[in-house]
Structures are given as structure tokens and as C-alpha cells.
Amino acid sequence: MNPANYLYVAALLFTIGAIGVVVRRNAIVVFMCIELMLNAANLAFVTFARINGNLDGQVMAFFTMVVAACEVVVGLAIIVTIYRSRRSASVDDASLLKR
């Protein structure tokens, strides 16, 4: 089966993620959309690894997962703090800083 299709999927996932970031309010969901984008990238990497026939892409994927994990840690920490102080996880509420 044509590996290009995987790329299309990746692109699709990435787009969904990106759009999700823009349209969804809940911080957690937004964050998950970003994770989705990262994983789309991962998919692209492994696909290309397959196409190019070397392992660098797959290595990259592993790194990405680790990094994503770190991001989750940091991100959740921040989101939770915000939630505790505001009693809301909507990113639109956090709009004191503007103009």
C-alpha cells in the first residue's frame, strides 16, 4: 500500500489538531489537540523513515514521545494551577493580559 497515504493521515491529524487548538475552549482539550499534532508529526516521521529506509525517523519519534511526556507534566501543572485559582479551565477566561 502506498506509504503516501500515511502522510495524508498525518496531515489530516495535524490539521484536526491545529483546528482543535483554535476552536476548543477547555485548556485540557486544547492541550490534547496539541498532543495530537505532535503524534501526527510522529506518524509522518515513521512513514518517512519507512520511505527513506533509515531509522532516524523512528529514533526521532521516540524522542518526541519523551518530550511530549515532559510537556504533559509541565502543561498539566500550569493548567491545574490556573484551574485552582480560577475554578475554570476555559482558556478564554484567562484574558486579563491584552492590548
Binding site: V21, V22, V23, V91, R99
Partner: protein, 629 residues
């Protein structure tokens, strides 16, 4: 031939003026005497130089003195040089001589004025500037004196400038003169551009090679200068107001010397005008116009000084006319200038002494029958009167008739019109001068009881007497054996070929006399037979009204120059704020505005920021796509 005395002619009075200025009140005690002494000594130097001149033969009478290189840039070389020739010596003697007399007169006349010292320092300054004007050996040096006398006259007209009208009169004089000066400076520029030099000698030498067009241009510009300084049409308006100055000033500056500078300029530039007939004709025409213009105004004036001022304007018109008639006329122009210097100065001093006796009343309608109260003044004034109207054998007769004669002898339409104008002028002159004399000295007394007319002190009448002598004798002296004509010959080079005499001199004289008699007759009818109303009658013809308003000269200037000028100025001031500065401020405001608008893109919503990034990314892709296609 050089002489290092020339500079002293100027230096002495200049020194006096400077001392009085710097010393200030400390010199109140002796200032006037000091100034008079310096003026007199300058006159002495003049006489000495004159005697030396006489001792030399016609060709090499001129002497020069080169002090230092004044301005020297590239080919533009102007020395601070002085030149005394047959023409300038006449002026030197007139200026210093009459000047000194008027110094003396002023000692008494100004004795009650707190600022007499300042007055004398101005007078000295004027003498110096006027001498520089006539002694400078290049147009640029002349220019310095030219504006110097302008400044002096500004200061003296505005001597009592605490009176706003006087201050205004002074300003008016200065500005009008500046317009003339503009002409002079343009003339200098043109002559440098065409001839590469601005010295009289240089211009004279090269004038031949230049094109008539450029010479005409120079000539016309010089004429503009002359009209400004000599109160000729159309720049005449300032002279009447200039009478705001103390009477000695009017006598010296606005009758005898400064206002005649224009005549000097034109005669001095004979080599240009002779080569530029158009310009020369224009000079004659301006002269003719002005002599009638002044005469007409003179008929309507009740203020004795203004009447005299008008007559000055008219007489200078004669001189300009003479100068405009070319080689044959120059000498007579100068002659009339000199004789006029005597009799007009004399009459002004007379007027001054009348005012002195009538506690500064100037309205002739409030005079009358003064001859028994101030006999000397009457006598001297009368002699001046006879001179100006041109009764033989008084000075005016010789000089004025010559001009009329020469004018007629131009021949053709030109001759008739110019000559006719001059002739008519003579008649009018006779009329208004008679009017002045009659209203002032003859008839019934019209002054109120407070006034105590009395003769002026000797300090004042002695100069008047001396000037009266001049106004009697000078004409004869100048014409005796064509002395003045021959004297000036080397400078103005009269062409030998003799004009076809249209009219014999005798005929001209008789016609002139008839004209004069008519004038006198009418005047006597009007002002001696009936008695003069104290207030000027209002039910007069429109012409009289116009004449009283100086033929609307001020109204004209106001309507054509002043008011539009003021409008323009105000408009520009507004425009500067609104448009130019406004544009600058507009740009600034626009930038700030844009800033505060763009500011709103920063909504504070993280999702909109994400949107920016997303759009940015898409934009990048799209753009890079376009670029690579």
C-alpha cells in the same frame, strides 16, 4: 591723481556722530557745538579741495583715494575707494555748506529739545553718509551711502517717534526707499553680470561693448532707485509724511540734499543712459509726470511744510526731466539742483522760523499778515519765492528756464509734450508758491490770541540770510560764461553738435514769464482779494478733494500693496500652521492612530493568538508556493 584728504570729508562728521552716540547724555552740554564744528571743518576740507581743483586744468581735476580692498571674491572686486570730480565737488560743497548752515540754525531751533544731542549726531551721520554717496567711486560704495542717508532720514523723520504717526511716517519713508534700493542693487547685479565690474570708471569704460538691452535694463533699474530716493512718481508718497521730522531736517535732507541723490545717480550714470535711449526717455517722462504731480498737490496743501514738500517733489521732477534730456540737460539738472538747494532750504528754514514764532502751528490758514512780525523771515522767504518761480534775475530763472528750453528743443512730439509740461509746471508753481507767501505773510491775521508771532533769533536768521543770498546770486554765477556747463563738461561730456533750436531762448523765457504771471495773478485773485477761511472749505470740486488727498497716492498704495500684502501674510501664517505643520502633525497622529488600532489585534484570547500562528503558517506555505512557481 590721488589725494588722501578725501576720507576726512567723511571721517570728520562720522567721528562726530559716533562720539555723540557713545558719549550719550554726558555730551548734552557741548554736543551741538561739536557736531557743528565737525560739519564746518568738513566744509573747510571741501573748500580746500575745491581750490586745489580750480588750480588744475579741466582734464585732470578729478582726484581719487583708494583706502583698501573692501570686497574681493573671484572677479568681483570692489575697493573702498573715493573719487572727487567736478560733479561730486558741487555736491560736497552743497552738502557741507548748507549742512553747516542748518547745523547752526538747529542749535537755536532745537534748543528746547531734550534730545538735541541725539539730533545733532544724526545730522552728522547724515552728512557723512551723503558725502559717501557722492564720493564713492563705484556703484556699491554709492549704495552704502545711499542706504546710509536712507537710515539717517528714517531716524530724523522719526526723531519724535513717541508720536505713532511720526514713527509710521519714518517707516513709510524707509520702506519706500528700500524699494528704490532694490532697483539699485539689481542694477549693480546686472552691470556685474554684463560688464564684470561695478566701479564707475569700469562701467564707463565697458558700457560701449554691452548690448543696448542690458544697458536699458540697468538704466531702468537705476531710475527705479532714483524714484525711490528722490520721491519721484510712482514712489513719491513718502515725502509728504516725511515732514514729520524737525524742520531743519526737512530743509537739509528732504529739500536740499538727500532727495536730490536720484538726480546725482542719473547724471553720474550718464554713460549708461546716453547709450540707452529708451531708459533715458523714461527718465524724462517720469520727471515730467512728477513735476506736474507735485505741483498739483502743492496747490491744495494748507500745511506750509507739506506745500513746500510738494514743491520739492515738483522741482526735483524738473531736475529728473533735465537729466532725462541727455547730454544737453545734465548740466542744467545739476544747476537747478544747486539753486534749488539754496532757495528751497532757505524757504524751509523760513517756514521753520514761522513755526518757531507761531508755536509750531503749520496750518497756513491760521497765519496771515506775518510780514510785519517777522520781517527778516519774510524777506528771505520772499527772495526764495522769487527764485523758485523763476523771476529774473533770481537763481531759479536761469536753471528752470534752461530745462524748459532744452525740453522744447528735443523737438517733435517729445519736445512739445515735455516742454509743455515743464511750462505748465512753471505756471502752477507760481500759483501755489504765491498762495503760500500770500497766505502766510500777507492778508489779515488769522491766528488766535494765544500766539505771539515774533522774529527768530540771529542764530536762526543768519543762515536764512546766507541762503537767500545764494538763491539770489547762484543762478547768475553758474550761467555766467556757461561756467557750470564747462565745469561739468569732463564728467557728463555734452555732445558738440548743436540742437536745432525749436524756440529761441528769449522766446522760452518770455513764455515762461507769462505763464508765471498768470499763475501769480490767479493766486492773488483767490487769496489776496478775498480773505482766506480759517477752516478749509468742504464745498470744493472733486479735483481739489483729490489734490488734498495727494492725488490718492496713499489710497492707491494701500489698496494695491498694503491690504493685499496683509491678507497674504495672515493667510500664510494660517497656512503654515494648518497645512505644513498640520501635515507633519497629521503623519504623527496617523502613526499613533495605526498603533492603537493594531493594538486591538492583541485580544488577550490565547485562541486568537493560535489563530494568528495558524494563519501565519498557512500564509508561509502559500507564499513560498507562489515564490517557487
Amino acid at each position: 591723481m590721488t589725494s588722501n584728504l578725501l576720507v576726512y570729508l567723511i571721517a570728520l562728521p562720522l567721528f562726530g556722530s559716533a562720539i555723540l552716540m557713545l558719549a550719550g547724555r554726558r555730551s548734552d552740554k557741548w554736543g551741538h557745538l561739536f557736531a557743528t564744528a565737525l560739519s564746518a571743518s568738513s566744509f573747510g576740507v571741501g573748500l580746500y579741495l575745491f581750490s586745489q581743483m580750480l588750480s588744475r586744468s579741466g582734464g585732470n581735476r578729478a582726484v581719487t583715494q583708494n583706502l583698501f580692498s573692501w570686497i574681493s571674491v573671484g572677479t568681483f572686486q570692489v575697493n573702498a575707494g573715493l573719487m572727487l570730480d567736478q560733479l561730486s565737488i558741487c555736491f560736497v560743497l552743497l552738502i557741507t555748506g548748507v549742512g553747516t548752515l542748518i547745523h547752526i540754525y538747529s542749535i537755536a531751533y532745537m534748543s528746547h529739545d531734550l534730545d538735541r544731542r541725539r539730533f545733532f549726531s544724526y545730522l552728522n551721520f547724515f552728512i557723512a553718509a551723503m558725502l559717501l554717496l557722492v564720493l564713492g567711486d563705484s556703484y556699491l560704495n554709492l549704495y552704502v551711502g545711499w542706504e546710509g542717508v536712507g537710515l539717517a532720514s528714517y531716524l530724523l523723520i522719526g526723531f519724535w517717534n513717541q508720536k505713532p504717526t511720526y514713527a509710521t511716517a519714518a517707516k513709510k519713508a524707509f520702506v519706500a526707499n528700500r524699494v528704490g534700493d532694490l532697483g539699485l542693487s539689481l542694477a549693480i547685479m546686472i552691470s556685474f553680470a554684463t560688464l564684470g565690474t561695478v566701479s564707475f570708471a569700469g562701467v564707463k569704460a565697458h558700457a560701449g561693448q554691452a548690448s543696448t538691452a542690458s544697458l536699458t535694463a540697468i538704466g531702468i533699474m537705476l531710475l527705479v532707485a532714483a524714484t525711490g530716493k528722490s520721491a519721484q512718481f510712482p514712489l513719491q508718497a513718502w515725502l509728504g509724511d516725511a515732514m514729520a521730522g524737525p524742520t531743519p531736517v526737512s530743509a537739509l535732507i528732504h529739500a536740499a540734499t538727500m532727495v536730490t541723490a536720484g538726480v546725482y545717480l542719473i547724471v553720474r550714470s550718464n554713460f549708461i543712459f546716453d547709450a540707452a535711449p529708451t531708459a533715458q526717455l523714461l527718465v524724462a517722462i517720469i520727471g515730467a509726470i512728477t513735476l506736474l504731480f507735485g505741483a498739483v498737490i502743492g496747490m491744495a496743501k494748507d500745511d506750509i511744510k507739506k506745500a513746500l514738500a510738494a514743491s520739492t517733489m515738483s522741482q526735483i521732477g524738473y531736475m529728473i526731466l533735465g537729466a532725462g534730456l541727455g547730454p544737453v540737460g545734465y548740466a542744467f539738472a545739476i544747476m537747478h539742483l544747486l539753486t534749488h538747494g539754496f532757495f528751497k532750504a532757505g524757504m524751509f528754514l523760513g517756514a521753520g522760523s514761522v513755526m518757531h514764532g507761531m508755536d509750531d502751528e503749520v496750518n497756513m490758514r491760521r497765519y496771515g499778515g506775518l510780514r510785519k512780525f517777522m520781517p527778516i523771515t519774510f524777506a528771505t522767504f520772499g527772495l526764495g519765492y522769487l527764485a523758485i518761480i523763476g523771476v529774473p534775475p533770481f537763481a531759479g530763472f536761469y536753471s528752470k528756464d534752461k530745462i524748459i528750453e532744452v525740453a522744447f528743443n528735443m523737438g517733435g512730439i517729445k519736445g512739445v509734450t515735455l516742454g509743455g509740461a515743464a511750462m505748465l509746471g512753471a505756471a502752477i508753481t507760481a500759483f501755489y508758491m504765491t498762495r503760500v507767501v500770500v497766505m502766510t505773510f500777507a492778508g489779515n491775521k488769522r491766528w488766535d490770541e494765544k500766539a505771539h508771532p515774533h522774529e527768530s533769533p540771529a542764530m536762526m536768521w543768519i543762515p536764512m540770510v546766507l541762503l537767500a543770498v545764494g538763491s539770489v546770486a547762484s543762478g547768475f554765477i553758474f550761467t555766467h560764461g556757461n561756467s557750470l556747463v564747462n565745469w561739468l563738461a569732463p564728467v557728463v561730456a555734452p555732445n558738440p553738435e548743436h540742437h536745432s533750436e525749436m524756440l529761441k531762448p528769449a522766446v522760452v523765457s518770455i513764455m515762461a514769464l507769462v505763464a508765471v504771471l498768470i499763475g501769480i495773478g490767479i493766486a492773488i485773485m483767490k487769496y489776496l482779494r478775498k480773505d482766506v477761511p480759517v477752516v478749509a472749505p468742504e464745498n470744493v470740486s472733486i479735483f481739489t478733494k483729490i489734490a488734498r488727498r495727494d492725488l490718492l497716492q496713499d489710497d492707491f498704495n494701500e489698496a494695491v500693496f498694503m491690504r493685499p500684502g496683509q491678507k497674504l501674510t495672515q493667510g500664510l501664517v494660517v497656512a503654515d500652521k494648518a497645512l505644513i505643520d498640520g501635515a507633519v502633525r497629521g503623519v504623527a497622529r496617523m502613526t499613533v492612530g495605526t498603533g492603537s488600532t493594531l493594538r486591538n489585534t492583541q485580544t488577550g484570547f490565547v485562541r486568537s493568538y493560535a489563530m494568528w500562528i495558524l494563519l501565519g503558517a498557512i500564509g508561509l506555505i502559500a507564499a513560498i508556493w507562489v515564490v517557487t512557481l
